[in-house]
Symmetry: D2
Subunit: 341 residues, 4 copies
């Protein structure tokens, strides 16, 4: 069976397993106070060009989103997201579970524009009754987006500006951040991203780790007692070293970026393959997720041989699908897929 | 100053004040266990044609919505509402504060259609990843809607049917229910409403009471320990008699319906007045809220003399406004407004 | 039937009903923005000697507690209370429902001592693992307490001091505040109380109003957007005038204090009666609640003729009971009770 | 530096790392739907003698507690725990964050007795005002307790019985369950435990895994949509295989029990050592945590050479400390400690 289901269908990049092995008997305190976390924090600060950044390691993406959003919002505030945003669609209402509304606004190819945010805020504050409404307090975006697309530096700068105008915090969900930074289409570096938002996370789970996401408050602006808040959400890992070792490894010798580049190359080959076969793409994604629209005949050809996600079924019977690549995807797998199509 | 700001700008219908006076020294237990509440419950059950109904008296509308929705939803469930729905717009995120998402769907003139709900649910359950999403568990509608419009019996029946298909509870926010039942445009009786939904409330605050809403579970289907849940939300009134006396009065000799009819007649005059003056209405409302679109000149003519709500400003500078009538609106007030326009 | 069940078994002090009548047709905006609320706020500020105080009118006690506590605590904080405290025992977990722990500490006759609080805080901050624990953020006390006892000025000052040492806010639940201020045993004035805490409320429901509590932030220190938070909790009354008119009346010509004095006089007579009859009191209460311990024979003598609360049954079969007086208690009622005992 | 700080200061048992290595390139779906989780579930069911059990893998202990408790309680219910219980003390209010009160009751050596629970429930339901109070809905205990002690079969049976009487669910926090089952003092097997409670978890993190806890609903009685609830709490691991592989390994060839026995043997040596040196133990723990009371001189002797937790400082200056052993503790470490004391 060929797996294109997601970028988390195998274990971890071999270098990570090696490091877990090498460090296994080193005794260290728990809860992220170990020396591996300390080293990983330093390397992430350096990669972000932000020596003053606060860095916390959490286990998963929904957890990062819920903890971070709840911690940064005031009780009267809501978070703005694209209606396609992960927090609005696929997190089982985890943000609302913390007591906050997700204000879902229209997007284009998964991207929320600064104008959309500005328009919403302008109308909100012009409304005489806005004290009866949840206040916009944060903008949540994903880079890359849930549709594989990328915010440009100009677009992110514009969001940063509108957040400044209205006192909103800007949060970037980077579950697949490596694929956004290393894409040939990207014009945004990690330090630029760190400068343009209030908090973001660097996804590990989907970029070669067993688990783990690094939440970065670039200006040392973590909420007070964030450690306790993480614990309160059940998100504090006892053996924090598991996260520290992985991120230390990912940010040593550029492994994180190398993993990302590999998956992007495999995705580019996938894209070529689909286009060569005359298979249209639902969205033009420059990252590691590709969204081919397959005919029933093509679906049948792959049935039982290739695993991927079906996102939607069109009125004409064709299926919008998602194929994802990762550090574990091989050229041979692409060739096998090509043979089947 | 002429008040058309809302239907809650004066005290209470005089008959209510009289009854508060008459009963003032009668000693009764608290928390809704008094004989006035008992009498009011019986009269409401009779008016609904539902002798088995559970009836609880709460203080206000947002409170009713939050307590009832949170009590009837399972933790994994969300509530569907029109994007114009009060819970989605004007309740400061009170539903989300209880941990549940509001799924906002498109509407027409404030009304959510059964097809919209069915389409959402069908797509939800067809989605392979729906276990990662908040489950639809309830449909919330307002009768009349926030735009003054009315669901017909056919429309409500269709919503009832789709709720049955997908195991959703149907909740009708009746903050202004009297105006919906007594409108000449209405084709739905209170017993029919009670039969077609799982829970609804009969608004007192906006129909002549000082405060108070009667939450009705028509088939005796109140959630277990609803009393304790009401208390937990801080919504249990110590002197429950205040609510019991008011609803007992409102449901004696048809006062609730008489108050509603009066306000509707005043609203019909308002509507005539606007149309006669060539003032367009933003929506054709058959209830006690009217939504004239006023020119800047008209706005100026009323400035400092008439109070009403401004809902929106159009690109051409005109204002979409809301004028509401109540038991306290007089013909003289309509004449005064006519003179000003 | 004689009612000693509670201090909220009748309607309202007649002067309040009169004022509701007199003002009934005055049109005013909703949500506490009416002129009655404005007048009441001014009178309360004057009575507190705090012209800069923020004053909000809410409907009931549990509501006040939950909204105020949740609004003043940070997410990582808990509220300290006596283990007999109303929020710990009788509010159906309303504080926990907002996400915060109640730290219940031992008391004496319902009173929490500064030493108990200091000891808890000292141990908390000395504990190396305290970042894994909810931080103490507030002290909640009731004046009078749930057992009818009173904090002295010295005791409240000591609590104020320990709160200052540890950065805790001090919240005084004044559901029966009048009975605390007017008791012959009281050595604390309203301005002194206002100076010694961060927030308190002046109970209306149990002191002659139909409903309503005035939350006072004495130094103008209401949380940002408290109005919106009140709405989010479903605690914002549409016809805020109902609360404004009542508090305006209660704070005109000292009615609030006069009502309190009357109930206290009746309670003193009750106490005398019990002591004369050789009935022991469970606690020596100087306020409007009395706690006689009745024998089974005495219980039987009152059965079906007098209503009161049974708090506990002792191993020897006697019952700890509560008798409460109010504005509506008459000398005749005391005489009738005396005749029965 | 000698580490006795906790049982989670090293990586994982070597067999676990080997299996991660061996399975690394096996492609499998996410979210616990992989074949490793399936195999681990079967082995756990077999070990529990409960083929019908529902088994879910979560990441950490606080997370298990919060998700499971919130999912099994009704909204009006609270959870009873010993006042020393982990959920009451060391989880940053995670249970309250989900909206539920922890009712803390007195214990002996960390253990809650059936009589204490029965007495609380009897008083609760006898109280006329109990509808104003959070209902007891669950009993939470830890096996071993936070003080290292063990419930006997008789004690657990008695708790099971009282839970049955009052309709409470019984939840056993087994963060260190292996040490409870394998202790020479234990008289309770895993199948007996599974029969006597409604839900429990088998701790991995503290018994040789990198992370992970297996939540077991022994009678297939997982709450509906528990998967979605886990997601809503941010507790669903994308690469669920990480948990599946670990538990599959731990429950192959009795590794979980072998690890537990080893740590218990090391703890027994520690205990012997303390007693031989005349060092008193704060509690007589038969499990992997030992609580020696050290003099200032002894503390000084270990300073900078041995890491352990200080739990309390006694008035005479001595320190109550905790030393924990694990799979990674060696005889040599015990000898080194002996030499220092």
């Amino acid at each position: 069976m060929l797996y294109y289901l997601s970028d988390y269908t195998e274990g971890a990049h071999p270098r990570i397993l090696e490091r877990l092995q090498e460090t296994n008997l080193v005794s260290q305190p728990g809860y992220g106070e170990d020396r591996f976390c300390a080293a990983a924090r330093e390397k992430i600060r350096a990669a972000c060009g932000k020596p003053e950044a606060d860095v916390y390691f959490l286990v998963g993406g929904t957890q990062c989103n819920a903890v971070t959003i709840a911690s940064l919002l005031q009780r009267w505030e809501a978070v703005i997201a694209a209606d396609t945003g992960h927090i609005n669609v696929h997190e089982a209402g985890a943000v609302e579970f913390t007591g906050h509304k997700v204000i879902a606004l229209p997007q284009r190819e998964g991207k929320l524009s600064a104008d959309t945010v500005r328009d919403y805020c302008a109308r909100f504050f012009a409304d005489e009754t806005h004290d009866h409404m949840p206040f916009p307090g944060m903008v949540y975006i994903s880079q890359p987006t849930e549709l594989g697309t990328l915010y440009t530096k100009a677009e992110l700068s514009a969001l940063h500006a509108v957040c400044g105008e209205y006192g909103l915090r800007l949060f970037v969900d980077g579950a697949r951040l490596g694929y956004g930074l290393m894409s040939p289409a990207a014009d945004l570096t990690l330090p630029e991203l760190a400068r343009l938002c209030d908090v973001f996370y660097i996804g590990g789970t989907k970029v070669g780790a067993l688990c783990g996401e690094a939440v970065v408050f670039p200006r040392g602006n973590a909420p007070r007692h964030f450690f306790t808040l993480v614990k309160q959400h059940g998100a504090l890992l006892a053996k924090g070293r598991l996260l520290g070792i992985q991120f230390d490894t990912l940010f040593t010798d550029g492994l994180y970026f190398q993993i990302s580049r590999h998956a992007l190359e495999m995705a580019a080959r996938l894209k070529d393959l689909f286009l060569r076969k005359g298979i249209p793409l639902s969205v033009d994604s420059p990252t590691n997720q590709q969204f081919p629209i397959l005919t029933p005949a093509q679906m049948q050809a792959l049935d039982g041989k290739v695993l991927f996600e079906v996102w939607d079924t069109l009125p004409d019977g064709r299926a919008v699908t998602r194929f994802a690549t990762s550090w574990a995807t091989t050229e041979q797998q692409i060739d096998l897929l090509a043979a089947l199509l």
